[in-house]
Symmetry: C2
Subunit: 452 residues, 2 copies
Amino acid sequence: MQENAAEENPTNVLESLTQMLESGTVQQARAMLNALHPAEIAHLLESFPAAKRNVIWELVDAENDGEVLLHVNDEVRSGLIDEMDEDELLAAAEGMDMDDLADFLHDLPATLIGEVLRSMDKQNRQRLEAVLSYPEDSAGGLMNTDTITVRADVTLDVVLRYLRLRGEIPDLTDSLIVVNRYDRFLGVLALSELLTNDPNMTVAEVINQDMEPISANMTATDVAKLFENRDLVSAPVVDDNGRLVGRITIDDVVDVIRDEAERSILNMAGLGEEEDMFAPVMASARRRAVWLGLNLLTAFLAAWVIGLFEATIQSLTALAVLMPIVASMGGIAGTQTLTLVIRGIALGQIASSNARSLLIKEIGVGILNGVLWAVVVGLVAVAWFENVAIGVVIAAAMTINLIFAAVSGVGVPMALRQFGIDPALAGGVVLTTVTDVVGFMAFLGLATLYLV
Amino acid sequence: MQENAAEENPTNVLESLTQMLESGTVQQARAMLNALHPAEIAHLLESFPAAKRNVIWELVDAENDGEVLLHVNDEVRSGLIDEMDEDELLAAAEGMDMDDLADFLHDLPATLIGEVLRSMDKQNRQRLEAVLSYPEDSAGGLMNTDTITVRADVTLDVVLRYLRLRGEIPDLTDSLIVVNRYDRFLGVLALSELLTNDPNMTVAEVINQDMEPISANMTATDVAKLFENRDLVSAPVVDDNGRLVGRITIDDVVDVIRDEAERSILNMAGLGEEEDMFAPVMASARRRAVWLGLNLLTAFLAAWVIGLFEATIQSLTALAVLMPIVASMGGIAGTQTLTLVIRGIALGQIASSNARSLLIKEIGVGILNGVLWAVVVGLVAVAWFENVAIGVVIAAAMTINLIFAAVSGVGVPMALRQFGIDPALAGGVVLTTVTDVVGFMAFLGLATLYLV
């Protein structure tokens, strides 16, 4: 069973582990835990409140510590690091890939960073410093330094013998990197070419020069797009002078893709990317309060608009009953357009040349759905309040708000982008503010003009 | 410039192409387009309304057609396929990987499917039928059949000579698959082992038997998790009898990850995964209408609750002004909890054993933020309406609603999962219904009891 734990439903693993801990069968828990892959152990650790998490952390074999630490989120990681002594931390840092080690160093106490650096040989220290010199979310920060380089003028046979002598090839190596004597990138030698060509041929004869190297300054997002579009397993990274500085591998790119997807979903709810599910109540409440406060401001704006029409509501309270419907439908319709546009922007599919077509299409959709649901809501309102005029007013307000929702759904994210604000982060708040204000204004305004 | 088009901002490429088409420099547009990678051409095609899209599609070299079709979304693909004649479609299908071809067949007219099958040799037809026999979103549907298999008893030297004779290794091959004479999976031979070990050793001596094969019935989601957790480039797929049927490669897994991330974001807004940004207005409006209709039902429910308190509102219209604030803050706070819990469920991090701790923590956060913003809103209400009682009532209602929001944020997705409904799809609607109803009920109910 232990061998197959990973194939099992992770929820079941979580339940079993909890039971083992509660029934005190610690040895069994330890065996089960360490049969898992480090990423799976990391997911499990994230599933427990801090107290239990530390108990489980003690059970993880020291040799897995480093890998597990790399897979938990930032908040959980700093909690676990606090539980470790210096020797354990130094042991965990050992054997980490350079890109992982660079990330890890950010979380270590300052005294320990010096110690880690001193424990490395000069070459590795220089490599680490190279990675550290680039931002974490750039190609340079993502790269690893475990490249195998070869010269263009040697034969494949020499390369084959060199590899056998070396005895080891880093994980996720699908190609060797061809450089000149100044470490300038020339191209790649795919392992598949190395294996299928006549060993007497030279590297220069089978080199792939189409593979463009990645600039160390490229953003992680662009790196991910490049890997996706070109189905890469690994890609060389060069500095501004075209000198090879490392390589990026698909496993790190997959993490970037997953993190970005998670971040957009969490950000839409005003949550930080690294939120620990079991963060202390106080810390969690403080972080979320900002988002609630921002939304409170927009709620007050909507309330102020309603306040302008208090007299109207006083004389016709049915308006108070119906008004949230107009605002809410605008918010829902606008969010649909917004979501589509944010995706288009993220994929680089929206520019000024096609924004107009998109706007026209979305307004069309807004009119169609506006009219459809205006009729439905209007009829219900007439039946409910036995008042034809109120049905006409809510139908008109609904149509107006759904058209505004379409316009804002396209306009808000494009405007936010112009101002350098991430539309995925702020788009929803701004949009629902517009649809609330317009919805209340249109409905109560029309009612004031025609109903009372 | 053309060589570097892909490195450029995709929005700039989009703008340049639009200009070229408008100024009639078609040759230039064609050259620019075909210098891009198929996935990039696919993204570009998606960026244009149908009429222009078809003009651009004509410009794409026939040799790129197949790859581009695989990268556009379903809706755009069927539009492009409608524009192609039989010969073009047959040409596009040629040379596709089996998994891609299986997907592609779903979109072809029935007459053509027969033709494609007839054009294949027996072996390939059997392979295709094997892929087609599994659901599209299972390991079997994702797999490719281009495996290179070797026997355990041969020496590495034999394998090396075999590969040279073969002359070609499929893309994304990081290991050969070791099978017995009945095609039963035994393990994998990593290319890195093949390259670093003594050629006189046998495959059996360097085989990796730790690599568990993937069952063809595993879901695509689980396949993606496995690849992520274990940093795989490719993995063998076996049928129920342990016989090798194919392999899955990381490029397809990356597509699964990206599609799932997109789907959750689009689904949260009630949009289908494959929505074409420039779908016809009518089709787009029809699809979105369902979601709007569903939300209208919940809006009517909230309106009905308000309707219960019409008399109270009549005597104190300030309540109508303030009531959306209570509902809206509950929705925002609840969505934060909901988002966290949905992520936890997706990662398998929430089970009955830790749900209680999570609930307690979220209620704690709800109380803290409830009290904080209750005080703020209460004070503003007192100042605005010069009525202390109304401030107390809104503060109490706010606290109540934020606690309910926390409970629903944990409870709603867990209950939906019990009923087999995807929490990411329906969670938001159900949650905001609860927070609207509870918000209006608490605020107007307390007001009825204590204010009028």
